[in-house]
Symmetry: C2
């Protein structure tokens, strides 16, 4: 399945997305239905994400561990809400070799129960708390319809699982990691996110509260780009986890979990990409620069590589025997932040051309100043990409004061709608039935004025609704 041209983004966004995924060599389909292959560029982006997030997790005191990938059915069954949420899409292992297993096991769809099983053994006194663990792994959810990065049977992610002495500490942790995600997505991915709490209906199976990062894609649809959960002592009680506190009484600890996944690559594509392909924010691009030599410039090329290396600027060189025009197009598809055209004629005047991927703007600079000019451009580009995404997103968030207004916006516009909400699931369901928009997140706001946009009763929160991936 080869993609010759990328579909126009405004004509068919879904096809455009698939084209970019394929043509930028991010993924490939395989003979394994529902699973995808992450190709070198896609995986290198994930490695960049991992590197930065892992540093941020460690700086906030977390340690990495590795739990089993299998969950025996009886272990999954311990927390009742949780099993209801995950069993219907679990992949079940029933045979080991030619022997039928006494108890079937699922491949982890998430690992709360595995961490609880471990915590029960290693937490004895308040001195063992907090436990701040994280795990990088693959999880499995047996989805019917799949799309690269957005919905897949196998998902690469990280899942933090922590245990605390008090509810306050656990809530603090839930919000701390939620903020780490926000910082990462805004500062590194250049993706502005709306942050708030999920409604009761939409929260994680077994959680007391779920905080979500909602990003708006180019087409106005929402992508849930990460969540942080506060569990209270639900799981700890179900698993019988107890510790002796300083006052010598037996207490139950409080728990959190939080995760982001390769779905963020989907967000990168759909927020920043354009009709020429991928556009990578400099801070997350595995290679900041693509060098395209034009003519025989081998000596200067070596000099350039050295000066980029000395400035810690990662690069690739396209020294294939394709034409420059073809190479430019390919560099654009793959989203390298800056293209350096190293041309014989330019070099005679000691000049080289830099091209920014986001604006396609050309800058001609002197050969000796390349590294510093590239760094300046990268910094500017990072900021510009965030601002551009934020302006666009903000222009696509609508306030609806009445239900008619909400219906009208749903029919005529793309984006998020912000309403007053009474908090009832009935109103939530009504919106979904009438508009196909689901609640994204709610913002507690004491100053809410006016009634619920749906039912007219007293509103106590603001609610974002939108169509979702």
């Amino acid at each position: 399945m080869e993609v010759k041209e990328i579909t126009n983004r405004d004509v068919d966004f879904a096809q455009w997305y698939t084209d970019v995924c394929k043509k930028a060599d991010l993924v490939d389909y395989s003979s394994v239905k529902g699973s995808m292959i992450i190709r070198p560029l896609g995986y290198a982006i994930w490695e960049e994400m991992q590197k930065t997030l892992d540093r941020m997790f460690k700086e906030t005191g977390h340690e990495n561990v590795q739990m089993p990938m299998f969950i025996p059915e009886s272990l999954l069954n311990v927390e009742k809400e949780h099993v209801k949420g995950f069993a219907p899409e679990a992949a079940w292992v029933t045979y080991g070799g030619s022997e039928k297993l006494e108890e079937r096991m699922c491949v982890r769809p998430t690992s709360e129960v595995l961490f609880c099983d471990h915590y029960k053994k290693i937490i004895k006194t308040y001195r063992d708390l907090p436990k701040l663990y994280n795990q990088w792994c693959t999880i499995v959810r047996w989805e019917k319809t799949t799309r690269p990065f957005l919905r897949s049977r196998e998902i690469l992610w990280q899942e933090g699982h922590t245990m605390h002495r008090t509810a306050e500490e656990a809530i603090e942790e839930t919000l701390r990691m939620f903020n780490v995600y926000k910082t990462f997505q805004e500062d590194y991915l250049a993706i502005p996110v709306i942050t708030g709490r999920k409604t009761e209906k939409e929260k994680f199976a077994g959680a007391e509260a779920t905080y979500t990062l909602e990003a708006m894609m180019y087409d106005g649809n929402a992508l849930q780009n990460g969540t942080s959960h506060y569990f209270g002592d639900n799981f700890a009680k179900a698993f019988g986890i107890k510790f002796t506190d300083a006052d010598n009484t037996l207490k139950t600890p409080y728990q959190t979990s939080w995760g982001v996944s390769t779905r963020m690559i989907g967000a990168l594509i759909m927020v920043h990409g354009d009709d020429r392909g991928l556009v990578l924010p400099p801070k997350i691009a595995p290679f900041k620069v693509i060098i395209i030599p034009i003519g025989d410039v081998s000596e200067k090329l070596e000099e350039l590589k050295l000066s980029l290396k000395n400035a810690d600027i990662t690069y690739k060189v396209d020294d294939s025997n394709k034409t420059p025009g073809f190479k430019f197009a390919e560099a654009e598809v793959k989203g390298y932040p800056i293209r350096i055209e190293l041309g014989k004629r330019d070099l005679e005047q000691d000049k080289v051309t830099l091209v920014r991927r986001d604006t396609l703007e050309k800058t001609i600079v002197s050969f000796d100043s390349i590294a510093s000019e590239v760094n300046k451009l990268l910094e500017m580009m990072q900021k510009d990409m965030f601002n551009k995404a934020k302006i666009r997103r903000d222009s696509m968030i609508y306030d609806a004061k009445t239900y008619d207004e909400l219906l009208d916006i749903a029919k005529t516009k793309q984006g998020f709608v912000k309403i007053n909400w009474c908090g009832s699931e009935e109103c939530e369901n009504k919106i979904k039935e009438d508009t196909a928009m689901k609640s994204r997140c709610l913002i507690e706001d004491e100053n809410v004025t006016g009634p619920c946009t749906v039912c007219g009763k007293k509103a106590n929160t603001r609610l974002y609704v939108g169509k979702q991936y």
Copy 2:
């Protein structure tokens, strides 16, 4: 299950191993039979291994990718030898949610067939070659009896899979990565390895040749610590992978694969550990130094932390309220290469005490010179640990000229035996039946003199045999 004391290594080596794994907090058992939990210190060691190996792979031109974790049965069946080797210990997924799958899938025991399935799609001409891919992932083999790091149902590893234009190139790659492993294990893990080819009987299912790194554990048993395989065009033919060469003819490419796993952590323990616990070679220790403050030394502690940080020396501080003696013992169990005793009385004379983990030797140094003294000690320790392991290993390799000699060594000594071998599987089987020793690897040697140690016929190679983990 708490370990109070570590069993004496010379009394019961197997129990000693389990004790160290548990008491150093490397692993824990879980409710998932056959799977283990890798705890923070164990996982941090794996991260150090990954960091260095990943750099070495990238320096030799390899890119990381991620294949599916599931293999449909029909895909596993394509290469006949391969499926025979792996199907008997595969974990089979038969249900997705409540629906029975049309075709069952196993969780990958290794990924040759998945890479071939992908390569068939992306390799078209000689310009697409070589393909140099690597994958970090978890594999599953349904073992009956398991031991932490050595034999487990879930194994964390990396698997390189490459495709080449010619057989020569592929053989070169097989040996290049084999040498990367050797360098890594000797220079970083301080583990001397015997390198050679596996016999026909012991080679990887589907390979033309398997090269192995054989390490000797403290008890004289062998641990296969990594392998590199040359496949010829076996898989490529079975999968119908073809490329157009420069001369416009259609050819079949040649393939390699190579892997090392968390098993290397088992080797670290069993080569370097002692009756006090783990001993970590400095280059692979996640934290080079443990600081133990004695008395109120908080001001100097901050100074010390800063100077270690500036010298890029990773450290941990044990500022718990345990006694110094208890802290020393715990630091020894966990194998920190250097312990810094920061004592109030020493500091009055501007002195601190450094203790090497491998020899437990104490050095008293002036406070201002700590960083440089630590670095000197770390370097020395790395070399000393390798040399000590090598001397011990070499002293436990025996030459057997006759079969009686072989039987006698097998009965009275621990270690490897080196023999002349005619190359027949019969002789290999006989050794195994009579001594429980299996062939480790063979060394092609044109200058072999004397007949086969087993059957007396003409020998053409040297063969190492030994008991294995």
